[in-house]
């Protein structure tokens, strides 16, 4: 039956994840100021996930299902003070957990998965002239003998500097639109594949973001993900759909990252204001509250609503129900609160909130990306509007 409580062991795990997340607080500012540096695999004094893992074995079958629980952990971890790896997910699963790995897992053949599964793979879709409108990409792949030749420019490649390779989107038939788009695995070091630069960003600075160029870049024929070289008439190819399905599964996780920054900023503001004697009295009615109390309540409610939408989308996946719409709903909500809540927290805290003495300003900068990557809030609203109105992507643009 519907329930919103977590078991004692799950609460212990959440608490431990927060403890681990806070164990590197001393480094948080360092990797902001030195964004050219990569944090080492293990920071000094950093508690690892090995602290959390043993607790997982104490979980019982009737505890919160795993994907839903992971969203709770992601929000908990992302809200801590010590997360220096900007995109830190709740459960590190080794190095090979880039977005490209998710694409390989869902769209690759068995042989491809076993061949490249241990590589750290980035996802390279966006171009200078094509973001959300992915079918407009200009990078081409043409078959010459037993090789694909890739030409084009790519930007905003998450983990693009430190990855071993990337899953790259290119069209094999521009006239076919979306149906002509395929994904290719290109390893670092392939001639013609250049890392152009590492971007400098508002936030998530310890997550690297790369720009690539491909000039007469030749890769083996079998590097086409999924192996399907045909261009279907009317509709996306299997590999295109495979990648879009990847987003369906990752949107709740990305939304949880936005909610985490809202949570972190709100928790910071709540305790900082409490230290100044300003606390919400939960027994007081609307008409009896101060403006600060009301603002804190609204921020708490907005964060809670976003959290529940993330949990709902994840729970649907857990129980095997479709969650396409709900993934977009939670991404829209996560994108909203990652902006409004840190902004509101700083508003309540006043001038000193901009100081590097405190982390609240970092929550605003780190959170802001969550309404942009993996589909802006506007793209999510397009998906939702098409869903409820029954319009295709051609009918509602």
């Amino acid at each position: 039956m519907a329930d919103f409580r977590v078991s004692d062991i799950d609460q212990q795990i959440i608490d431990k994840v927060i403890e681990v997340g806070n164990s590197t607080t001393a480094f948080t500012r360092h990797y902001e100021d030195n964004e050219h540096e990569f944090p080492p695999e293990q920071l000094e004094g950093e508690m690892g996930f090995d602290q959390v893992l043993p607790l997982f074995f104490k979980r019982k079958p009737d505890d919160t299902p795993m994907m839903t629980f992971q969203m709770l952990l992601s929000i908990a971890r992302g809200s801590t003070n010590g997360v220096v790896r900007g995109l830190g997910l709740a459960m590190p699963t080794g190095r090979a957990n880039g977005l490209g790995n998710a694409a390989l897992a869902s769209a690759g053949t068995k042989e491809q998965v076993s061949k490249w599964g241990n590589l750290f793979l980035a996802m390279s879709i966006t171009e200078p002239g094509a973001g959300s409108d992915t079918k407009a990409i200009q990078t081409t792949a043409r078959l010459e003998g037993e090789e694909w030749v890739i030409d084009g420019d790519k930007i905003f490649v998450t983990d693009g500097v430190r990855c071993d390779g990337a899953v790259v989107w290119a069209t094999i038939d521009k006239s076919a639109g979306r149906a002509g788009i395929k994904s290719f695995l290109v390893e670092k070091g392939t001639p013609g594949f250049d890392l152009v630069r590492k971007e400098k960003k508002l936030g998530i600075r310890s997550s690297d973001t790369a720009a690539y160029s491909f000039r007469n870049c030749r890769i083996p024929r079998e590097n086409l993900l999924g192996g399907d070289e045909t261009v279907p008439v009317g509709g996306g190819s299997a590999s295109y759909r495979g990648v879009m399905k990847t987003f369906n599964m990752t949107r709740p996780a990305v939304a949880s990252g936005g909610v985490a920054k809202a949570r972190g900023a709100l928790d910071f503001a709540t305790s900082a204001l409490a230290a100044e004697g300003l606390e919400v009295d939960w027994t007081r009615s609307h008409a009896q509250r101060s403006a600060t109390e009301q603002k804190l309540i609204e921020m708490e409610a907005d964060t809670e609503a976003a959290t529940l939408s993330v949990l709902h989308a994840a729970w649907l996946a857990d129980v095997g129900l479709p969650n396409n719409m709900e993934s977009s709903i939670c991404k829209a909500k996560g994108g909203e609160v990652c902006r409004t809540i840190p902004q509101g927290a700083m508003e309540l805290l006043g001038g000193m909130s901009i100081s590097h003495d405190h982390l609240v300003e970092k929550y605003l900068r780190d959170g802001r990306i969550s309404d942009i990557y993996e589909g802006t809030g506007q793209i999510q609203r397009l998906i939702i509007a098409r869903g409820i109105l029954g319009y295709s992507s051609e009918e509602l643009t």
């Binding site: 039956m1 409580r5 505890d63 709770l72 027994t283 999510q380 609203r381 409820i388 509602l396």
Partner: protein, 370 residues
């Protein structure tokens, strides 16, 4: 464990009430609202579902089912999606019954609950709201003073649902002990109590056809047994939060109804050569309405579920749900009206009625309870 799955019983209740809301309540809503009067037939039809009697213990002739705030939230959202006013008229006695189940002494339960387990509708109501602007449940002006073994009540209560016909009221008042909500007590007051007078309200913007009464309590003397919960009293925060979440659940239903009404209109209505639903300005309004209908529902479910389990986080969750629904439900009803333009303003269509009802449900602390 976290789960969004309704029980089979809850799903069954929702499905059967959905048909009732769409086929019986919704078609009559406008005529009843215009007439400003609630047909007894509506209340009787709602009573037949046994929603109020379901959780009355078998010892008092009831269904003996679990006293589930979540089930009530689901039922209220579904009924509210047909017609909020009729839903209030049907479910208002539940406030009295739920409070008795939760806090009543054995004697109080034996005396009152049996009546609500029968086939004939029985009217009873919670008297909470007062005349002053900025009313706050924790700052009641109605007072309850000890007098010998009994109590004396003084004050004024307003907008009491079914106040024209209720045979008993649960009157909330500030007692002599404690502060804020801790001082709030509930008293079972019969309609014919000496010093109690009732008069009809002048009319209201929203929930217009719900019969409402104003109650004046002038030195109303009650026996000690009238205090709900006896010597233990009540957990007023829990009782009032159940009312807040009840109103919020209805408002989610209204929001869903308004959103679902606006969607086909946006597909049909053509402006400048295409359906307005194909314009992002309208499509994004609808997307936001849908997003918030969903989000509001989970806020209400969580608050109801925590209230049901008497969880320590329940009071906070109820405040959050009430705050969230207060902001979102009115905006959704208002945006739905806006999508219809001038047609939304004309009383032929239900848009303006839904706006009035959403506003009423989100400023009152609740004429129904989960």
């Amino acid at each position: 464990m976290i789960s969004f799955k309704l029980s089979d019983e809850q799903t069954m209740i929702r499905d059967s009430l959905q048909g009732f809301a769409a086929e019986v309540l919704a078609p009559k809503a406008r005529a009843i609202d215009e007439a400003g009067d609630m047909p007894a037939e509506v209340i009787a039809q709602g009573w037949d579902f046994g929603l109020i009697a379901a959780s009355i213990p078998e010892a008092y002739g009831g269904g003996g089912g679990d006293r589930s705030c979540l089930t009530n939230a689901v039922a209220l959202e579904t009924l509210g999606g047909g017609c909020a006013s009729q839903a209030v008229a049907i479910m208002a006695p539940g406030q009295f019954v739920n409070a008795l189940i939760d806090f009543g002494t054995e004697d109080q339960k034996a005396e009152h609950l049996t009546r609500f387990a029968g086939e004939t509708p029985v009217a009873a109501a919670l008297a909470l709201q007062e005349s002053q602007f900025g009313f706050a449940a924790e700052a009641q002006r109605t007072t309850a003073a000890r007098s010998g073994n009994g109590w004396v009540l003084n004050g004024e209560k307003r907008l009491i649902p079914l106040g024209d016909r209720a045979d008993h009221f649960l009157v909330l008042a500030r007692g002599p002990d404690g502060e804020g909500l801790g001082a709030v007590e509930a008293f079972i007051v019969p309609r014919d109590a000496t010093g109690l007078s009732l008069s009809a309200e002048t009319g209201t913007q929203g929930l217009k056809p719900v019969p409402k009464a104003k109650m004046t309590l002038n030195e109303v003397v009650l026996p000690g047994s009238a205090r709900l919960g006896g010597d233990a009293g009540i957990d007023a925060a829990r009782l009032i939060n159940q009312a807040r979440v009840g109103a919020a659940a209805l408002a989610v239903g209204v929001s869903r109804q308004a959103t679902d009404f606006a969607i086909p209109y946006a597909r049909d209505r053509v402006a400048f050569g295409e359906a307005i639903g194909k314009k992002q300005s309208i499509a994004f309004m609808l997307a936001d309405m849908h997003i918030e209908c969903e989000s509001m529902r989970w806020m209400v479910w969580k608050a109801a579920s925590l209230l049901e389990h008497n969880d320590p986080g329940a009071a906070k969750a109820a405040v959050l749900a009430q705050d969230y629904v207060r902001r979102k439900a009115v905006k959704i009803a208002d945006d739905a009206l806006q999508i219809f333009g001038g047609h939304g303003f004309i009383r032929d269509l239900p848009l303006e009625m839904w706006l009035r009802n959403a506003r009423a449900l989100t400023v009152l602390d609740g004429p129904v309870s989960v």
